[in-house]
Amino acid sequence: MSLKVDEIIGVVSSVLDETQKKRGTLIHAFQEIQKEQNYLPEEELVKLSKELDIPMSDVYSTATFYKQFYFTPRGRKIVKVCTGTACHVRGASKVMDALKNEFNVGDGETTEDLAMTLESVGCIGCCGLAPVATINEGIIGEIDSPKLSKMIEDIKED
């Protein structure tokens, strides 16, 4: 990966010094890496630190500040179960438990075969459909037993 610093930050580049420019590209670089690899592998961050001449501790500190970056491989299907108030009242924990048991993972964990990652999230803004979960971009609302079984099947199929 080679970084074209000026290209990334565009017109702003004229008012920044070299160090600031390099620092400014960090987030962009993280996003690129994560897009390709699904997470931020250690080797890539080490490379980035060398390339930008920013200490590793600094690179890592910046990355860990943002919730959107991950440091362990993530599953092909990201399953987010809403545990906001409305969903909680309508049995989100049952959904969560069922998925945990089925895939033998904890909250925030990924199955060994990298098939799926299970996460609990705060209110995702469609309380009317509670309990709600998402698989990658798709939303499943009003989850009941049949829907849950269907969900599990969906997750399992590649």
């Binding site: 200490p55 590793m56 501790s57 500190s61």
Partner: protein, 824 residues
């Protein structure tokens, strides 16, 4: 200068000072937790808020500039209330474990809580409970006590130039950690430990040894390198428990490196000598002082009678005080009547002095530790000053932050190369060629100072000597691309101000007198004075001991180290060695050992039973640093007092006192009764030494390939210093031993593959002088065909392989490597 008023007091401040700086400089305290004068304003903790007349909002004193005419209040009921709330919030999560925290009693957070805290908090939330990270050596990270002021992270990356730790994560679970939560692996300077306002970063060796209020703190000078930092030492019940730096004190102004901070426990090594020893047959037997002194007196007297005083020589020590060395000087000259005396400086700093005198015509060349500041270009030649002289190294980094352009010439990546604008990656031991190549460009392009060179001797011969160093040829010799050489030459010539800096020590073999001559030529060529070439003396008292008479007088027939230890002619029958271990520290130890074996009588006074001491007939136990008073003169020629802080180990006695007692036994009183007598005499000795100034001269030098690298010995052996150690003395420190305790041979990956040498396997290293066994590590750091060994570890006996040139330099040796156990 600007004027302002704080709490009704009129004060003056420098333009550009923050309100906090101005106030603290005038002894008005404003609470603060995230400020340090070495760092840029951060404005994180908000405790430093003040009221400024005419401003509606409260201002953070640490990040608001002081303005002429400002009227400021720092203690008002309103501010008190705000600060109370901030402390209250900080204490919501902070575990209140002061009873078992080493910081208690000197903790900023504790002090502020005491001052502003409320007995009851309005907030109830869980306190942090993260476990301490105790995996790394020397430093313990306890993030649950962290208040996220970021000082440690900033001092490490912005000031120390290391960047080993970061604030990892966000919000409540944030921790101070190296990247990926790995074990801390860094410079171990402990600067983070000093700046942390809480107990989140603490020293492991000091842990649970004393409550801070029981410590008696006293200042003394660091026993390691030539910078001469002031250490603030914490003593309890007659034992030094820790060292810290304190801002406003000494040349270091609060900064310390890991050696000074952690390394002084070498004085508590179990291996300290405690009684005099006399050799009976092959074995040492313990003796009383009377017995040992009488034995030495008798033996020396007999030798003087039989062979004359010139058969006796002495070696002094850059680790001993000026007074110790001057006493040795007086003893050998006045009591013995010989003029044979020198110290290890003969292989290090003495060369610098001699070259500087020859090139600039001046005597004495102290460095200016502030010299890097404000220079347009700083050129560091094959030297990592941030390893040999860490605090001087920090000044170089500070200069680069303020806009100086740092150019380094080095074979491997160092802290300086990482912070330089340009890194000329040269092959080890080729700095003379590089400098000559640079000067070739400068002279060819007419970029030198034509007015001044006419007044400097030997210009024409010198000019002719540069002819062959064309950029192409130089590139071939050094491995630095021709374009880079030209570019560097032009930049150096065009700069308005420049600093050329290097280090030279007994324990490095990549450069000698020739490199200093070439550097001096460059300075003369550019029309600069000697102050543009800064070469700091290596150890704590190298500069001072050199000036305390540790060399043959120029007008007497005395002999130096080279004649005493390396000449085949055997005029020497007895030697008196104080605080030095020639068998380990001097080049070509086989030759040194042979020479010592041939002598009739050897006296060693030292703090350890060194390899040399083992060969002695009598060994006197000397008191160490911290156990005796005296002075050290640092590399910038400042005499600084070192204090007796604790009782001497066993029956050990100060070096000067041993010499005084021995002189008395031999029937002379040396004219000294107490320390002050020596100091008095030393002063007049120094005054007499000031010789008239001479002329400037160019000193023609050529690139000489170090030593034959042939098929029998195909590898270049490079020996250099590493950060955690200083000479061999620091290897006796238990703390520093925890960081690096082994002399590992670094070998290039491809070479290792070719020789089928695995990482961490044992190898035999041989040169034409001898062989040693070491553990090998495989590393990308070293170029093909080169192997690297740190100089410090006595057991490694690295000098078995080295050779002393007629110029008194230890040069890169040709060596062979094979599996241990295999025979060739």
């Amino acid at each position: 200068m600007i004027n302002l008023e704080i709490n009704g007091k009129k004060i003056t401040a420098n333009e550009g000072d923050t309100i906090l700086r101005a106030s603290l400089n005038n002894d008005i305290y404003i609470p603060n937790l995230c400020d340090d004068k070495r760092l840029r304003p951060y404005g994180g903790c908000r405790l430093c808020i003040v009221e400024v007349e005419g401003q509606a909002r409260l201002m953070a004193a640490c990040s608001s500039p002081a303005v002429d005419g400002m009227v400021i209040q720092t203690e008002t009921p309103k501010l008190k209330k705000y600060r109370q709330t901030i402390i209250e919030l900080l204490l919501v999560h902070h575990p209140l474990e002061c009873p078992e925290c080493d910081k208690a009693g000197e903790c900023n957070l504790q002090d502020l809580a005491y001052e502003y805290g409320k007995p009851e908090s309005r907030f109830i939330r869980s306190r942090k409970t993260t476990k301490s990270d105790i995996r790394g050596p020397l430093i313990e990270l306890t993030s649950r006590r962290c208040i996220l002021c970021g000082k440690c992270v900033r001092i490490c990356s912005d000031h120390q130039g290391r960047g080993a730790i970061g604030l990892i994560g966000r919000g409540f679970p944030t921790v101070v950690q190296p990247a990926f939560g790995e074990t801390l692996e860094c410079d171990y300077c402990g600067q983070c430990l000093d700046v942390c306002p809480t107990g989140a970063i603490l020293s492991k060796p000091y842990k649970f040894t004393a409550r801070s209020w029981f410590l008696d703190e006293q200042d003394s000078i660091c026993p390691f390198c030539g910078v001469g930092c002031t250490l603030t030492l914490g003593i309890r019940e007659g034992k030094i428990l820790r060292a810290r730096g304190e801002q406003g004190k000494g040349v270091n102004d609060g900064n310390l490196c890991g050696r000074g901070r952690f390394g002084i426990d070498y004085i508590y090594s179990k291996k300290r000598l405690t009684t005099p020893l006399i050799k009976k047959g092959e074995e040492f037997v313990t003796a009383s002082w009377e017995e040992a002194l009488a034995h030495v007196a008798k033996s020396l007297t007999n030798i003087i009678k039989k062979y004359g005083p010139a058969a006796v020589g002495a070696i002094g020590s850059p680790r001993c005080t000026n007074e110790d060395n001057f006493a040795l000087n007086k003893f050998i000259r006045e009591v013995v009547g010989s003029d044979n005396i020198e110290s290890s400086a003969a292989f290090g700093y003495e060369k610098v002095q001699k070259v500087m005198t020859a090139a600039f015509g001046t005597n004495n060349h102290p460095v200016n530790l502030e010299s890097p500041l404000g220079k347009e270009i700083i050129f560091a030649v094959e030297s990592d000053l941030s390893v040999t002289h860490p605090i001087f190294g920090l000044k170089i980094l500070e200069a680069t932050r303020e806009g100086s352009r740092l150019i380094t010439a080095d074979s491997r990546e160092t802290k300086l190369t990482r912070h330089s604008a340009d890194w000329l990656k040269l092959m080890d031991g080729t700095s003379v060629a590089l400098l000559n190549g640079i000067m070739h460009v400068i002279t060819e392009d007419d970029l030198f100072n034509k007015e001044t060179v006419t007044g400097i001797a030997n210009f024409d011969t010198f000019l002719a000597s540069l002819k062959e160093y064309t950029p192409e040829k130089t590139a071939e010799l050094t491995g630095v691309p021709a374009a880079k050489i030209i570019e560097t030459a032009k930049a150096l010539a065009a700069a308005k101000s420049r600093l050329i800096t290097l280090s030279l020590s007994l324990s490095e073999n990549t450069k000698g007198s020739a490199a200093i001559k070439a550097a001096a030529n460059l300075v003369n060529l550019l029309g600069e004075g000697a102050e543009s070439l800064q070469i700091p003396a290596e150890y704590s008292n190298t500069y001072g001991s050199y000036n305390s008479g540790l060399r043959p007088d120029s007008n007497k027939p005395g002999k130096g180290l080279k004649e005493m230890l390396y000449d085949s002619e055997s005029f020497l029958k007895a030697i008196y060695i104080m605080g030095e271990d020639p068998v380990i520290n001097f080049p070509n130890s086989t030759a040194v050992t042979e020479k010592l074996k041939s002598l009739d009588f050897i006296v060693v006074q030292d703090i350890f039973l060194t390899a040399t001491a083992k060969m002695a007939d009598v060994v006197f136990p000397a008191s160490s640093w911290g156990e005796k008073s005296g002075t050290f003169t640092n590399a910038s020629s400042i005499d600084q007092e070192v204090l007796k802080l604790v009782d001497p180990t066993g029956q050990s006695v100060s070096d000067w006192m041993i010499l005084k007692n021995l002189s008395l036994t031999m029937g002379s009183d040396l004219g000294i009764k107490k320390l002050a007598d020596i100091q008095h005499e030393l002063k007049s000795y120094h005054e007499k030494q000031k010789a008239p100034e001479g002329v400037k001269a160019f000193l023609t030098v050529h690139h000489g390939p170090a030593e034959e690298i042939d098929s029998r010995f195909p590898f270049k052996l490079v020996i250099r210093d590493i950060l955690q150690h200083s000479g061999s003395m620091s290897t006796r420190s238990k703390s520093l031993d925890l960081v690096i305790s082994e002399a590992l041979l670094k070998l290039n990956t491809e070479d290792a593959e070719r020789l089928a040498i695995r990482d961490s396997s044992h190898v035999k290293l041989s040169s034409k002088n001898g062989e040693i066994y070491l553990k090998a590590v495989i590393s990308e750091d070293v170029p093909m065909g080169t192997v690297f060994v740190p100089s410090h570890f006595p057991y490694a006996r690295i000098n078995t392989l080295t050779q002393l040139t007629p110029e008194g330099d230890a040069v890169i040796a040709g060596v062979n490597i094979e599996h241990a156990g295999k025979s060739s």
